[in-house]
């Protein structure tokens, strides 16, 4: 049970951190990241995977790139995007586990008969 360090955080630092979270606070952008999770994909492929208008996907890709989460590679007519910041994996992982734990706990609160079900 490691003690967590309390960094001193300036106003500007907090703004940057919040900004990073804001970029991730959009289901469509998460879907896009999911679509390029393990390999680079063209915009067309991404659109096919996430299902939205091309203009919107393009805008979201711009936001993700501006934030440094994805990177672009152009080849002829097509543009490939890929994950540029692997910490997105960790962030999603941590959030997923937290949500899972929370929901499990809520289940137990309502229906405690789920015996061997306590947190891993």
């Amino acid at each position: 049970m490691a003690k967590h360090v309390k960094r001193e955080l300036s106003e500007a630092a907090l703004a940057m951190i919040a900004e990073r979270f804001k970029v991730l606070a959009e289901p469509m952008r998460l879907k896009i990241l999911h679509a390029v999770w393990d390999d680079e994909r063209t915009v067309g492929e991404i659109i096919g995977a996430v299902g939205g208008l091309q203009a919107n996907v393009s805008k979201h890709l711009g936001v993700l790139q501006q934030a440094g989460l994805v990177a672009r590679r152009k080849d002829g007519l097509r543009v490939f995007y890929r994950i540029a910041d692997p910490t997105v994996f960790d962030l999603c992982e941590v959030v997923c586990e937290s949500l899972h734990d929370r929901l499990s706990q809520q289940i137990d609160e309502i229906q405690p008969r789920g015996a061997a079900r306590r947190r891993a």
Copy 2:
């Protein structure tokens, strides 16, 4: 260098993950979390630490509690809040490091004379 697992994520799961990020995507809420980082604090103390109107801080605390990130304890007139989900520590840590790396890299791109400065 561990390979990252690609979970299959439903629409609903993505919405929940995005929602979690959205809660964190606000400098004032990060400041509040920072104020209760290592110990529980009353609303009054939190207001003193973060510097905002009482109504706003109270509303933000409501959002944080609804999301399960902080927990309430009432004692007489005062209400104490504390971190309820320790993953916020990890999330902030990961984002901080990512931002730090990104900024360092940008520095190097502009002024490459910082010799032994490549990414860890």
